[in-house]
């Protein structure tokens, strides 16, 4: 290793290698350069390591615990409701909820292939029924796009929540009075009234659908 190589490596901030150390031991100029570099690095670290607000890590960690509790509480409330109406869920499948499952199984991939809407357009389309900002509090919105559903235009939303992925069908023009549920071919769906329209939720199991339902209602 020569002086140029040594100084070039020093400036990258990479840890000193054995070859660098051996060169430094034999070269007074590079040894001085190493000392100056060390002082600069100390000053750099000191400048970057600003004081963190008192108890910051604990406060952030507690916020995560609260967030999880809120989500689980909302899910539990809906599950309790679903428990009360569980018999209805089992025995009287809702036709719109069934149609939601059919849509996800047969037409969802085609709808996604058609492409998503730009954020501003998606926010405007969803606003009257289920505002995008509310959805973003529940999970990560992966896709929003229009799709024909039950003879009207609905909006397919793919939502990623901590427990998994769900598909929502936001139906601005489909009013309904009460929640409905259905299970079919390993999938579960719920439909609920929402601000003058309705929303269908389809997921891999009943608990996932119920938890998202609770979070959307919260």
């Amino acid at each position: 290793m020569n002086c140029l190589d040594y100084r070039r490596l020093l400036l990258t901030g990479a840890p000193e290698t054995e070859a660098m150390r051996l060169h430094r031991m034999q070269c007074a100029g590079c040894a001085a350069e190493h000392r100056e570099h060390g002082a600069l690095e100390s000053a750099l670290r000191e400048a970057l390591e600003v004081a963190v607000p008192e108890g910051f890590a604990g406060r952030m960690a507690r916020a995560q615990v609260l967030r999880r509790r809120r989500f689980l509480a909302a899910a539990a409330a809906v599950l309790a409701g679903a428990g009360a109406g569980g018999y209805a869920w089992l025995t009287r499948p809702d036709p719109v909820a069934m149609a939601c499952i059919d849509f996800v199984m047969k037409d969802e991939s085609k709808a996604i292939m058609m492409g998503g809407m730009p954020r501003a357009a998606a926010a405007a389309a969803l606003e009257p029924t289920l505002p995008l900002s509310h959805l973003e509090k529940v999970g990560q919105v992966m896709h929003v796009g229009p799709c024909p559903f039950n003879g009207a235009t609905a909006y397919l939303v793919i939502l990623d929540v901590p427990q998994g992925k769900v598909s929502l069908l936001v139906m601005p023009s489909a009013k309904r009075e009460r929640d409905g549920h259905a299970d079919k071919e390993g999938m579960s769906a719920a439909v609920m009234p929402m601000h003058g329209g309705s929303v269908g939720i389809v997921g891999d199991d009943r608990a996932l659908v119920a938890s998202v339902m609770g979070a959307l209602k919260a």
């Binding site: 002082a39 000053a43 970057l48 990623d160």
Partner: protein, 158 residues
């Protein structure tokens, strides 16, 4: 490791990184809070627990850029001049010198010094090649050497 454990372990360094990006304590705290909310949602999909730390840094970076808007988008290096000693012939304090560095040069440096990330990890985080990261690290240190007053470089205070 649960998400709460990850937050407890890394929140302080995430705050320091966010502060370096935002240059404001309140904004840094907001950025970390919002980033952790996004992280909490996405955590179940994180397959490699060993990557948690780098992943959290990348979420903080993305959240800062989202919140700051176009001003924080990746700056082109075309026309970005590194400051030199003419900025202040008497030399600057290190913190002021860091502020004078364009973000394209200062950010890899902050990730290396604060986060302890390697060149390859910084390249992944910033979407650059490792060679480009090394060049920026070198040029950033060269600029700091030119800018910083000798007493500050030696760790002294004015």
């Amino acid at each position: 490791m649960s998400f709460e454990d990850a937050v407890r372990a890394h929140a302080d360094e995430l705050f320091r990184y966010a502060y370096w990006l935002a240059r404001d304590r309140a904004r840094a705290e907001d950025v970390v809070q919002e980033a952790l909310l996004r992280g909490w949602r996405a955590f179940p999909r994180l397959r490699d627990a060993a990557a948690t730390r780098a992943w959290l840094f990348s979420i903080v970076r993305n959240e800062y850029r989202r919140a700051a808007g176009a001003a924080a988008r990746e700056e082109s290096l075309d026309g970005v001049d590194l400051p030199d000693e003419r900025t202040d012939p008497g030399g600057l304090e290190m913190r002021d010198a860091l502020r004078a560095l364009p973000a394209a040069y200062g950010e890899p440096l902050a990730l290396q010094v604060l986060g302890g990330f390697s060149g390859a990890e910084i390249a992944d985080l910033l979407g650059l090649t490792e060679g480009a990261v090394m060049t920026r690290l070198t040029r950033a240190r060269q600029a700091l050497r030119r800018l910083v007053a000798p007493r500050a470089r030696a760790g002294g205070r004015p």
